[in-house]
């Protein structure tokens, strides 16, 4: 009876000792760790931050969409601007233009082999060239050049006797005019009766007109060089 008592007390004391030590170790860990209630605080903050994060994510998606649309619009605008720029460069004569058109050769009256003199006293003047150019323009010429000199907005065609200056460059006969545009329209305009070509032919000048599917009018800058 007594012995049983000792054994039970002994056993219970062991269990008690175990419990107390476990508790000590657990609480000492708590003391090192986070204070009580901190976990709930952190959980609340976590959920708040997660909500914020999802909000931000939505905003990111929204802004990405907007950016995408903006860049899409930008691309179109860019291609439109490029087209405009190309057109402007063609119009300004900064690039060589290739396309169908006509080729006109104007020359002064032939020298007669027998007499060594021209059949008439007529020579092609700057005004004649200007008239031809003017006619070609109204016929829808997109690009013009005379003897390699591209005709642009600032181009002058001026008599600087005995030569004609185009783009401050002397040109000599025969005058070789390249015109890019609708060949039929251009040729019809040139051949019109009572027109400038007929007038020049009557005065004895040699005028040849050829349509061509593939002509290249040189650029203005290359003409200057």
């Amino acid at each position: 009876m007594k012995r049983l008592m000792y054994i039970s007390v002994f056993l219970v004391a062991i269990v008690l000792g175990l419990l107390v030590t476990f508790q000590f170790r657990a609480t000492s860990r708590i003391a090192q760790g986070v204070p009580a209630g901190r976990d709930q605080e952190m959980a609340i903050e976590l959920s708040r931050l997660e909500a914020e994060k999802s909000d931000s994510q939505r905003e990111i998606n929204d802004l990405n969409d907007k950016l995408l649309q903006a860049t899409k619009g930008q691309k179109e605008a860019l291609s439109a601007l490029r087209g405009e720029l190309t057109k402007a460069r063609v119009a300004a004569g900064l690039v060589a233009v290739t396309g169908p058109g006509i080729e006109i050769i104007l020359d002064n009256p032939q020298v007669m082999p027998q007499t060594g003199k021209a059949s008439t006293l007529f020579t092609i003047r700057d005004e004649d060239l200007l008239r031809v150019i003017n006619e070609l323009r109204i016929a829808g010429a997109e690009a013009l050049s005379i003897n390699g000199q591209r005709i642009v907005a600032t181009t002058e065609i001026r008599l600087a006797a005995p030569f004609i200056n185009v783009n401050l460059t002397r040109i000599v006969p025969p005058y070789h005019i390249l015109v890019i545009g609708n060949p039929d329209n251009l040729k019809a305009t040139m051949d019109i009766s009572g027109g400038v070509v007929e007038y020049l032919r009557e005065l004895g000048a040699r005028v040849e007109i050829q349509t061509n599917d593939q002509l290249t009018a040189p650029s203005y800058s290359s003409g200057r060089q």
Binding site: F10, A13, L16, G17, L19, V20, Q23, A26, T27
Partner: protein
């Protein structure tokens, strides 16, 4: 007197085992454990007192020890779920009994 020596021996052995076991309870159990320790302590003091009064019954002692510990831990657990600090009831009840038992033990020791 022998009883006290046995109890001390058991306590020392338990503490040594507990310190050397790599096993650790999770932190969330610490609250229940603390109340259970208090209940166990009360049971041990009750047992010592009963032994001094020569009314010791080891069945009552052992069952009392474990049931007190379990009830205290269970109260703490339920209290946590119900948002009431129910473990306070266990702390007060066992605390009061602890001091009563200690007082009686002291008187028995002094009477001898």
């Amino acid at each position: 007197m022998w009883l006290g020596i046995w109890a001390l021996l058991g306590l020392v052995l338990g503490v040594t085992i507990g310190l050397n076991i790599p096993l650790l309870f999770p932190l969330s159990f610490a609250k229940y454990m603390s109340v259970a320790v208090l209940a166990a302590l009360d049971s041990v003091f009750g047992g010592i007192r009963a032994a001094m009064e020569d009314t010791f019954d080891h069945t009552i002692f052992i069952t009392g020890f474990f049931s007190n510990a379990l009830l205290a831990a269970g109260l703490a657990f339920v209290g946590e779920r119900l948002c009431i600090d129910l473990y306070l009831a266990a702390v007060v009840a066992f605390g009061v009994r602890l001091f009563q038992n200690l007082a009686i033990i002291r008187r028995h020791l002094l009477k001898k």
